[in-house]
């Protein structure tokens, strides 16, 4: 019980620590995007000076930068990312609220798939270490990691959508059919990476002394693996999951483009290209928030898996 309340206190501390980290992120991003040449209302055709002045006044861009900064920080403290400069009539909050669920669905499905398939393949390879199964699995994993997704996606579209006609080549209507190809494309490199990670750590764990003890107890090998080896072998995978999940659920520009998915990923690029200051800031802060939260969750899972960490935190 003491242990649990220590854990709770620790969690609250960690969550409070989120605030300075995010503030730092806001500050760096805010000034970086303003240092970049050009502004949100620059275009090929020069605007009449009075229109530009009006626009700047409307969005407070005529104020000194520091004043803009403090205005912005005050604004996001109220969780308001402001209006998009480019997508008029939309606030950044609305853009994120509309597109994030799509990216989250695709990304989370891909991550869950990658976790299960990747660990299973990794364990299978580790148990058949240095056999043909192992070599072919690891060969495929190498391929999955080295072939870029803008190659995998068109090949899958060609095979499964164009030739076989089983699946739509792109688009989005929240049905499974539209999810299959983007999810597979997104998960393949992660499957490959997780498989390699799991194989390596599983082999190491299987050679450790406590596995020898478990075998000497006369337990069936399947029990030895499940009860004794799995948990330590998954630790490196768990620490990979945090940042990887954040990257996946915040949307992949390439995959959203190829499959015409209305996700969050394209706003990272579009926002930056259009110097859409508020949009860039919005997605950057949102992404940073996701990373921090997911790393925090990973640490919780880590502590749950590893009693030694739990103990150290208690003290």
């Amino acid at each position: 019980m003491i242990q649990d309340s220590g854990m709770l206190k620790h969690s609250l501390q960690r969550l409070l620590g989120l605030i300075p980290t995010l503030l730092m992120l806001v500050t760096v991003a805010f000034f970086l995007i303003r240092v970049a040449p050009g502004g949100p209302f620059d275009s090929e055709k020069l605007l009449p000076p009075e229109v530009e002045a009006n626009l700047s006044a409307r969005y407070h861009l005529d104020e000194p930068v520091l004043q803009q900064y403090f205005r912005y920080v005050g604004q996001i403290a109220a969780l308001d990312f402001g209006p998009s400069y480019h997508y008029k009539d939309w606030t950044v909050n609305e853009l994120i609220a509309q597109s994030f669920p799509v990216s989250l669905t695709v990304g989370l499905s891909a991550m869950v798939l990658a976790f299960f398939v990747g660990t299973l393949l990794g364990i299978a390879a580790a148990l058949r270490q240095n056999t043909r199964t192992d070599y072919s699995l690891m060969g495929f994993a190498m391929l999955g990691m080295s072939v870029p997704n803008f190659v995998i996606a068109p090949v899958l579209i060609l095979l499964l959508a164009v030739y076989a006609g089983w699946l739509p080549a792109g688009g989005w209507d929240w049905s499974i059919a539209y999810m299959v190809l983007p999810v597979i494309t997104l998960s393949l490199p992660a499957i490959a990476y997780i498989a390699r990670l799991t194989r390596g750590s599983m082999i190491e764990v299987l050679n450790s002394n406590f596995i020898r003890t478990a075998r000497a107890k006369g337990l069936p090998e399947s029990t030895v693996i499940r009860r004794h080896a799995l948990r330590p072998a998954l630790l490196p995978v768990i620490s990979f999951l945090g940042p990887a999940t954040a990257a996946m659920i915040s949307g992949s520009v390439v995959i959203e483009r190829i499959f015409s998915i209305p996700g969050l990923g394209s706003y990272f690029v579009q926002g930056a290209l259009n110097r859409d200051y508020t949009l860039v800031m919005g997605v950057v802060i949102f992404y940073g928030f996701l990373i921090i939260i997911l790393n925090f969750l990973v640490d919780l899972v880590y502590a749950w898996l590893n009693p030694k960490i739990r103990y150290d935190e208690k003290r």
Binding site: Q129, S208, N209, F210, R212, T213, A214, R215, A216, K217, G218, L219, P220, E221, T223, R227, H228, R231, P232, L305, N306, P307, K308, Y311
Partner: protein
Amino acid sequence: MDNPANLLEIKDLNVGFDTPDGKVHAVNCLNVSIKAGDALAIVGESGSGKTQTVMSIMGLLAENGHASGQALFKGKDLLQMTTSELNQHRGREIAMIFQDPMTSLNPYLRIDKQMTEVVMHHQGLNKTEARAHAVEMLRAVRIPDPERRIRQYPHEFSGGMRQRVMVAMGLLCAPDLLIADEPTTALDVTVQAQISHLMSALRRQSNTAIILITHDLGVVAGLAERVLVMYAGEAVECGSVEQIYYDPKHPYTQGLLASVPRLDKPEEDGLNSIPGNPPNLLALPEGCKFRDRCPKAHEACSEKPPMQLDEQKHAWRCFLGETA
């Protein structure tokens, strides 16, 4: 030759490892047997094949290792068994305590789980019965407050405590044979004494035979009746503790005993040691393996010396000290 009184009979055991440099001959033509309730100590320096001997009978050799010969446990050859056949005996009739208590317990599981799984698997006890039995065993190895301690993780135990847990774990199913591979090496001297007292007390209670592997001749005297001395994968001498300690026949055994530091010797004599190193197990010399380091070596030693046996069942592999 089969003697039904023998619990374990090792015949012509060879253990080899395939390595990129060639075949390592870890154990060569070893013959030894142990009766029910007996305690045999296997001594020798690092790399003499003590550990690999018992690893081979437990089916725990590394991937590149292979054993030939026979290891008859109650008349059945352990070396010929599949893993699942071996699992009928491992943990139930033959238990093993490993050298390093700090890493031999699973750091991710409570002691509870690690102990109860043995009896639940082998004796079909339910969780409550298994826990009660495990607590009882922890109490037998004198772990204070076992009901509370059993719920803890290995890192909450000291080295000596962990080794007691290992001993308790090994004795859970009241095995016929307990193999202890340097159970006290990683521990400090007072704890060493406690663990060896503990093992001999438990042995008397449950008539468990013990194979004790050690390079500590002091531990041997406290625990075992018979001693097997190994050198370069071979048995060089085998006899009772008295025979080995007071009448060592093989020059290697004599050297080992001379290198034990003694309080009653003048300090200026320093520590005795056997000059040289054990032979390379990749390319063992012909004849006596010890001859390059042996102060009594002569021409005859280039041939393999016979195993000599006197009437008191004291055996040694040397041309010297011949019996009539």
